[in-house]
Subunit: 486 residues, 2 copies
């Protein structure tokens, strides 16, 4: 007997898998180059870093299907990835290096855009901004947008059921998907791209796949809803004395403006101050100070009918008469509207600049949000002296971003790992007690999986595990994400 | 040894089950009286008749849960039932008599109605008409209606994802359900009544249960969306030269009326003639004859803003100028609007009076419907000489009811079982080839399960079977319905 090292079966298997994968995908479709892989192994917020056996970039649905079959044969886990701009580490592999990252970015064709039917069939790798531009070029609009539009892909948006600032009127990504194509865990292809407005042939498999974060299937293409392009928009900035009044103002606007109401965002004075301090070009929209500020967007898709300016005037007059606002101003042109939105869009950056914080993307029933914020803010600030709790965002959706900023002078990482984690635990417990959600729009990924296991209704958890087990019995698809272990 | 009959274990088990069920539910909650059970063992169209061990009528969600646990222990299948007004035999047990019918009709409380949040929490047995009236009494409206509103229950509407004539604007039942409570196959209770506009905590279990026809869980209550009451409506009757023109008219109305467009139904002249012949009080809305007729409803929820009469005028003028209609009239008052809708509502009865027919509730992509009808009608009429094929209904949803009327003088039942079945097979094959659905709004039940098995995408079928197996491994819930056997 010689003294050679023991035969490494695992290494041999990996080599065989990689050789087959390279044959299947070609050199453009598979890389193990650490430099090329590196940007895709850490999430964009830098919270999670993993390792991968390789990064696959198939060029077609057929290639994705073949690759999944290959992975199934070799038991190689798959981490699907779009623009890598998710908020919960859902597209970052674990540190074991046993999985492949399956990037959908090469599949970036808009297969068709039908102006008459108002639909676009997009491959998973189409970037949101690209879709916006394609729709605009045809006099149409894709009615979902968010901060990461320059990197977020259609596949990622669908897999995480992304939200944004237009959900109030148009719904989240779930509402934009008219048809879906996905590769399942056994490599079979779910073909549901035909947009049927009505279809009662059994379980809603499309909606089951949407928001499943790549744990039930890999989205390869979708038929997406387009809407008429905007002819005009007016953005109103209103100062209100309380969040409860902001909610009353929202109800009034919904009644009075109907479908013309596209967005309704809120922020406290404190948050406005932070943005004004952080962004040199930002100006306070109103002269005075108000406990809360509301940003209201009304839009029109039609040339005919009453002008938007008349509607804005009517809204403001009516709201003043009803005592629903202290002061308000309406944008007179597009530059002013953009200046108002700049303030909203810069909140996250301003908060980051201020120092360490823990962030919570939470929702409760829409009508309970003012009460919840009034309850939770002082409770957190008293329990952790020196912290500052702020809530801002999508009041119309019952969804606020609830950020707790560390006391001045603390060491960031230590605070986040210590008191920060405790605070998050308590925020999630409160929101659960109120019947709300610990993830309104960002998903679960790996960031919140333990909290989901701790706080979710056991019956829901059991249903999720049963469905996951049914559709991915081997656990090939995005392991360690979303679905808590039993 | 004596000559007594062999010990009947099955009968003993059934007796034990019935005794336990009676203890659990009390005399009002369980009956075996053939006379009391009889109306609920045949579907309302008289196509399916079954038998049942007993009919259970629990009074609460807790009782449903306990009953399901009892059924699970004794392996007694459960056929959930609402108003028994479904179209596909989904609530009718098989003939074996081994199952119980679980009626939800006793659970008929509207648990709460929140005018501010515009939500009603209804138990499964609330009748649609009752919900309409409750919403109206609060200045609100439940935006889904259909012919069977006097018997259809909330639970049945949810389990079958019911449609109707307002889907164009408001969506099907799926879009009205903000929260859901259901009892699962193991007797656990899925508690999702809290209406969260945004919730990304994993798989969309609520949508999975909706439309699953009681095969994955028994809906016990739901939080339903309400909308503002209508202030005004105008119904326009338009004569158009073709279905393609009707589709162009629909697109024009969508652009010009926006959210004010609530309904858009079509019928051919032939169908109008049949209704006029059948309903003595019905009058032709237009003086002349037209290949196709469109019924267009525009509505307003607001007192302010331009009047609906102006919008109707603008629509008609614009449509004439664009050559989109040959003639049209708008209702001048509510009585006229109702007279127009009477014609639409009486189509089914008029067709029935005409003689035997086979009916198909089908959908294709909205933009393809005119082409499909123009293709399918002559094809069927030529292949089966003497038949008359008519399509009418929800053009705006890509959903028509495609009826094929038997040649004059044939014997009804024989024709339906012979040529009728062949015609249905061909209609379903055509619609599948066009990427459409063999059930747009009526569901699958037992009526279409074999056709689903024959024509559905094998990948979808496999997913459905896997999900069914995962959530109801014993096959306790509504066996023989919807999900084809493997």
């Amino acid at each position: 007997m010689t003294d050679t090292p023991a035969f490494d079966q695992a290494a041999t298997d990996r080599s065989a898998f990689l050789a087959e994968a390279e044959t299947l995908l070609g050199p453009r479709g598979l890389t193990r180059d650490p430099e090329l892989m590196e940007p895709w192994l850490t999430d964009w917020r830098g919270r999670f870093t993993g390792a991968a056996l390789a990064m696959a970039s198939p060029a077609s649905t057929a290639e994705v299907a073949e690759l999944v079959k290959l992975c199934a044969r070799h038991r190689v886990p798959i981490v699907p990835q779009g623009g890598n701009s998710g908020m919960c580490g859902g597209a970052t592999p674990d540190k074991s290096g046993s999985a492949i990252v399956l990037s959908l970015r090469r599949m970036n064709a808009i297969r068709s855009l039908d102006t008459d039917a108002r639909q676009a069939v997009c491959e998973a790798g189409v970037i949101l901004q690209t879709l916006h531009e394609a729709a605009e070029a045809h006099g149409l609009r894709f009615p979902l947008t968010l901060g990461g539009k320059g990197s977020a892909t259609v596949g990622g948006l669908i897999s995480t059921n992304a939200g944004g600032t237009q959900v109030l009127r148009h719904g989240s990504m779930r509402a934009q998907v008219l048809g879906l194509e996905a590769v399942l865990a056994d490599g079979s292809i779910y073909r549901g791209l035909t947009a049927l407005k009505k279809d009662n042939r059994g379980f809603d498999l499309k909606q089951l796949l949407i928001g499943s974060e790549g744990t039930l299937g890999i989205v390869t293409a979708a038929t997406l809803r387009l809407v008429p392009a905007l002819r005009d928009r007016i953005t109103i900035w209103a100062g209100v004395p309380s969040l409860a009044t902001a909610r009353a103002l929202l109800l009034y606007c919904q009644d009075a403006a109907g479908a013309a109401l596209e967005g309704f965002e809120v922020m406290p004075q404190l948050t406005l101050d932070d943005v004004l301090a952080h962004v040199p070009t930002a100006r306070a929209p109103l002269a005075g100070r108000h406990e809360w500020h509301a940003l209201i967007e009304i839009v029109s898709e039609r040339d005919s009918g009453p002008s938007l300016a008349e509607l804005a005037e009517e809204l403001l007059t009516g709201a003043f008469e009803r005592g629903l606002l202290e002061d308000a101003t309406a944008s007179a042109n597009e530059a002013q509207a953009e200046a108002f939105w700049l303030i909203r869009d810069e909140i996250a950056a301003a908060e980051r600049a201020k120092g360490p914080a823990v962030q919570h993307d939470i929702s409760v029933a829409v009508e309970k949000m003012p009460e919840f914020v009034d309850y939770a803010v002082p409770l957190i600030e008293q329990a952790w002296p020196g912290t500052q709790a702020v809530a801002f965002g999508h009041l119309g959706d019952g969804n606020v971003h609830f950020h707790v900023i560390a006391p001045p002078g603390v060491e960031g990482l230590a605070w986040q790992e210590g008191p920060g984690k405790q605070i998050s635990g308590q925020v999630y417990e409160m929101v659960t007690q109120w019947g709300g959600s610990i993830s309104a729009e960002h998903g679960i990924g790996q960031l919140k999986r333990d909290e989901l296991a701790r706080l979710a209704d056991p019956v829901s958890l059991q249903m999720m595990r049963a469905v996951k087990q049914a559709l991915d019995p081997v656990g090939l698809l995005n392991p360690g994400k979303l679905v808590p272990l039993a």
